[in-house]
């Protein structure tokens, strides 16, 4: 028994001053230092000194092909999109300096919501400052204490954060498992509010959800359904409305969440819905009310981009060609991919571990190719991924160049 000693130690600790609240992050600091000590360029500190086009930039001093930007439809440099933004900045100024519900709703905030209603053929649209805030705001406002949120275990951080903020009971189910979803729905107490949260495309592996079956079992069990279509807008479904449209269940989805920071090429988030009481959310949704509205230039650029995406058939076809070619080429080279078939514009290359993933990432960067290095906790099952997201503006020649870079880097690091 050593109570005296323990007591002394405790007393000593108590007089050593305040607890460093950052001490809990020491393991992360350690992992990062180990990685950088190996001489690897910092994967989370890349700087684009110049952006030459949707697919090319000068990164850390090198001319680089961009294959990790979510700029699926290449709208960032569309002349009409840029011109609309310039004009709005001249006419309405640089910023709104206010909330949407006070002084922050300008002509173009209304116009971009009109463009969204046209794009989705839905009655209501609400624009948030980011996609993260759209999920945070809508989910936390819909499902509060005593309600149940049933979600895919691989849901995006913004979905989990929305759940935590609303204090609903959170019930996860195995990724894309319809039966697991159905079982959980059936066990929820009678009379409780139920919100099922799904994504069209899961951004880490680039795989698509079986929304047709999932929406059906959700509706059969009296749940409302929210689908995050951030990674499908503009190129999946007949009108580019996403996976729910492609699988024929868009009319049964109560809320679609989306973003402007991917296919639209700007920044912002949104929710569209046909719910007759939807507009009340503008008054009760805190991440909508208590933040500044986006600048008018961003709104004008976004509205122009959304309307152009409604007529982007050729670009869409080329994006799919690129996705198929890269998927087929990487498979033929012997890389292990996140999906057996190309299901979206994201192709995830599975790395054996973080160390070789970081080496491969750096080797590709030196070849002149930027991809995303994704690691836990963002990735499922503790995987390290090199995530490639294709752009409709990647030429067929660029895709061949990319495959050559992957081959050389993969052989040099010993992955293939």
């Amino acid at each position: 028994m050593i109570p005296a000693m323990t007591e002394t130690e405790t007393t000593n600790e108590m007089v050593t001053g305040p607890v460093d609240l950052l001490a809990k992050f020491d393991p992360i600091i350690q992992t990062r230092e180990t990685l950088l000590a190996a001489g690897v360029e910092d994967p989370f500190n890349l700087v684009m000194e110049q952006v030459l086009s949707p697919t090319r930039a000068i990164c850390n001093g090198r001319d680089t092909i961009l294959l990790g930007t979510y700029n699926y439809m290449g709208m960032t440099f569309d002349p009409d999109v840029i011109e609309a933004g310039k004009q709005a900045m001249e006419d309405f100024g640089a910023g709104t300096t206010g909330s949407r519900v006070l002084n922050g709703t300008f002509r173009d905030h209304r116009d971009v919501e009109t463009a969204l209603r046209e794009f989705y053929a839905m009655d209501h649209a609400m624009v948030f400052s980011t996609g993260y805030q759209a999920n945070l705001g809508i989910i936390s406002t819909l499902a509060g204490k005593g309600d149940y949120i049933i979600l895919d275990i691989d849901s995006h951080a913004s979905i989990y954060d929305g759940c935590a903020m609303g204090k609903a009971e959170v019930v996860p189910f195995r990724h894309n498992d319809v039966e697991a979803l159905e079982k959980r729905l059936k066990r929820i107490p009678d009379g409780a509010g139920k919100l099922v949260v799904l994504e069209g495309v899961y951004s880490m592996m680039g795989d698509v959800a079986p929304l047709k079956e999932m929406v059906r079992v959700s509706k059969e069990n009296g749940a409302m359904v929210l689908v995050d279509e951030a990674h499908s807008m503009g190129f999946i479904g007949e009108h580019g409305r996403g996976v729910a449209e492609e699988q024929g269940v868009l009319d049964d989805v109560d809320f679609i969440i989306g973003t402007f920071s991917k296919s639209v090429g700007t920044v912002g988030g949104f929710c569209v819905s046909n719910h007759p009481k939807f507009e009340v959310l503008r008054l009760v949704c805190r991440p909508y009310v208590f933040t500044a509205a986006l600048p008018p230039s961003v709104m004008a650029s976004s509205a122009t981009s959304i309307r152009k995406l409604m007529h982007g058939g050729n670009k869409r076809a080329h994006l799919w060609e690129n996705s198929r070619r890269l998927h087929g080429g990487l498979t033929a080279l012997g890389f292990k991919l996140g999906t057996e078939t190309p299901q979206s514009a994201i192709i995830a290359v599975i790395m054996p571990d973080l160390e070789r993933g970081a080496m491969m990432w750096e080797a590709l960067l030196k070849e002149g190719l930027y991809v995303n290095l994704a690691r836990p906790p963002a990735t499922p099952a503790g995987m390290t991924l090199l995530r490639c997201s294709l752009c409709a503006e990647h030429s067929s020649e660029q895709v061949e160049t990319i495959l050559g870079m992957f081959e050389r880097a993969g052989k040099a690091i010993g992955i293939i």
Binding site: P172, R174, R184, A381, G382
Partner: protein, 80 residues
């Protein structure tokens, strides 16, 4: 089921997840002693949920650190 019966069922369910064959007692922790990662937690919780036809929400899971706490939580949930 009484607490002893609940415990007996959970003891069987935990076996395939107890990779290192650790002796499981009331004070055994899932994160520390059994080294469960988030995927293992999901699969283990799903196995219990299916066995007892209950839901253990993530909010409830956050309150459960030890084997003993789990047995007691499941016993309460299956009665409600």
């Amino acid at each position: 089921m009484n607490p002893a019966e609940v415990e007996e069922h959970i003891r069987k369910l935990i076996e395939p997840f107890n990779k290192k064959g650790i002796a499981v007692e009331d004070a055994t922790t899932f994160a520390g002693d059994l080294e469960f990662d988030s995927l293992t937690v999901m699969d283990f919780v799903a196995a219990i949920e299916d066995e007892f036809d209950i839901i253990i929400s993530m909010n409830q899971q956050a309150e459960i650190e030890t084997y003993g706490q789990l047995v007691s939580a499941v016993h309460k949930l299956q009665d409600s």
